[in-house]
Amino acid sequence: MAGEYEQFLIHESRLLDERRFTDWMALFTEDGSYWVPATVGQRTPFGQTSLFYDDMELMRTRIDRLGHPLIHVQTPPSTTVHLVGSVIVEPGVPEPQPDIGLPPSEVLVHSSAITAEFRLDQQRLFVGRQSHWLRRVDGRLRIVRKRVDLVNCEGAFEAIAVPV
């Protein structure tokens, strides 16, 4: 079981590294969301700043923009490599939390991820703990919420263009 989830997370990160953003977006459920908090232990994406908090509508706008020929912050594009590890499955079925926009899911998988990004002669690292709330749609695993808690989430960032 844990093996299946691990394979899923590796597949997800490969889609990002291969810049297959539309395929990456298709991993999310229609009520899915992608959240990168701006503070340590942030309780809610609502009424507070976040680095990313995309529902599917916003994510589509973001991914469309990544395909725009005049997205200057990706001209030239960055290359990334994700390393996902320390995968552990939370026992039990996660409770939905409508107050923080978390719909029903079947399993919660925690992991750690290190992403190296290189662009314009500079390399930087994104290091964080990930939480994936997943549920099956037509027999296939889908992301209900992806949350990434970066170690430096409270720091100042240079422009970030691609999902971490």
């Binding site: 990168v36 701006a38 503070t39 609502f46 009424g47 507070q48 700043t49 976040s50 680095l51 990313f52 908090y53 916003l58 706008t61 973001r62 923009r65 725009h68 005049l70 997205i71 200057h72 912050v73 409270e154 720091g155 100042a156 960032f157 240079e158 422009a159 970030i160 263009a161």
Partner: protein
């Protein structure tokens, strides 16, 4: 041509009516002078009183490069004190915010109250003869001014009075604060922090630059030339591009230069009569109940898009936020973006505003990220020694005088506001 030295004449030679020498952006010597002469004496934005609601609350920030604490003293007043122990120079507080009734230096335990008064030093039998606690209070900002909760300080005892400095820009602050049903806002919804590998003036100029939008932000504009919606209740944003050209609607915007480097731009006409959503309508009703329908109509009619209180803070009405510019080095700047929470507005409205700000002004936003790329590339391009001058001449000679005397207006795609900033820059930089 400016020579290598930087006496007042050398500085003055960096700015001409329609152009600026590259050294204003690239020379570390100029930057050091800016820290002394501009950031060392201008009125600077520090924070908002709602960031320190209770006695003992503090935030830490920097004025120029000088570390300061903004505190709430036991008597309820807001204080701006230097975050530097008077004993051996240690920075007293490292956290970004918190609460301390007593500020105790970690090194030798010197203990201060939130106003900076030295209360005790350990091992007092070791004090030199004549040592008096009151000689070692924390340094404080010589001048502090507060308008509608926004706290400003000058690190110089002399200079323009606060009321004279902020006067022409009060309307820009009111424009945002009046949108709160009780006329009060709070900066308690977090912060977006980003780093730019560019000179701080790039961000100051860009805050009021309407010329760049169709090009820098092309990736945010749809095939109809319309930007995505940036306000709650709008179906779409402003018309920016028409065919291959800047849209006529966009060219209707005006910019205003009102002295002291202050400037602002007017808003693009959006479809005000069609602005509606469950969240927005509820908010509008709340505001109408508080201030009356006529006043609410007036408050909600956009007049101001973005403003700069020179040199370090911008108030943005479209995506409601306060933007603080922190110069770190000649080619490195931190920018902090604080969402404005309208106290007394329905929570849903504030939630929507914060979400829209994630999209426009987070480090990972759709709008600001392309600006950061432009700033960094300008800094890189200015390394060229073959061309000394940066052109800021658009609209030169076509300025339209307005009230108060000395203030001017022109098409927002012109560069009046950049020239206005550099006039103030010269005043600070060459004033003995």
């Amino acid at each position: 041509m400016p020579d290598g030295s930087l006496n007042d004449r050398g500085i003055a030679a960096l700015v001409e009516p329609g152009r600026v020498h590259r050294r204003a952006y690239t020379d570390p010597v100029v930057f050091e002078l800016e820290m002394q002469r501009l950031f060392g004496r201008a009125w600077l934005y520090v924070g908002h009183a709602t960031q320190v609601p209770k006695p003992g609350d503090f935030i830490t920030t920097d004025l120029g490069r000088q570390p300061v604490l903004m505190t709430r003293h036991h008597d309820g007043s807001v204080r701006v004190v230097l975050n530097r122990c008077t004993h051996r120079g240690v920075k007293l507080v490292a956290e970004r915010q918190g609460n301390r009734q007593r500020i105790v230096c970690l090194y030798h335990g010197w203990t201060f109250d939130p106003a900076g008064t030295l209360l005790r030093v350990p091992v007092d039998e070791g004090c030199a003869p004549g040592f008096k606690l009151c000689d070692f209070n924390l340094a404080t900002a010589p001048r502090v001014g507060i308008y509608r909760g926004f706290v400003f300080a000058s690190l110089s005892p002399r200079g323009i009075a606060f009321d004279d400095w902020i006067g022409p820009m009060k309307q820009n602050i009111d424009d945002i604060v009046d949108r709160a049903p009780g006329g009060e806002i709070a900066l308690d919804a977090g912060v977006h922090r980003y780093l730019v590998r560019a000179n701080w003036k790039m961000q100051a100029e860009n805050a009021v630059d309407s010329y760049h939008v169709p090009f820098s932000h092309a990736s945010t504009v749809n095939q109809k030339g319309v930007q995505f919606s940036r306000r709650e209740g709008d179906n779409e944003g402003a018309k920016v591009v028409d065919g291959q050209r800047t849209a006529p609607q966009w060219k209707q915007r005006r910019s205003y230069s009102v002295g002291h480097g202050h400037c602002w731009t007017s808003n693009t006409e959006l479809k005000e009569s069609e602005r509606s959503s469950a969240v927005y309508d509820e908010y509008r009703l709340t505001l109408e109940a508080a201030v009356g329908k006529d006043r609410a109509d007036w408050i909600l009619t956009p007049r101001m898009h973005n403003s700069l209180l020179y040199p370090n803070v911008s108030f943005m009405g479209l995506n409601m936020h306060i933007r603080v510019i922190k110069p770190l080095a000649v080619d490195l700047t931190e920018v902090n973006i604080y969402p404005v929470r309208l106290v007394g507005a329905p929570e849903s409205m504030n939630v929507r505003n914060t979400r829209l700000l994630n999209v426009t002004h987070a480090a990972a936003s759709f709008v600001q990220s392309d600006d950061l790329e432009a700033f960094a590339r300008a800094q890189a391009g200015l390394q060229s020694l073959q061309t000394d001058w940066v052109d800021i001449s658009r609209g030169l000679g076509r300025e339209e005088p307005i009230d108060p005397p000395g203030a001017q207006r022109q098409m927002a795609t012109d560069e009046l506001v950049v020239r206005g900033q550099f006039r103030a820059w010269l005043d600070y930089m060459t004033e003995a």
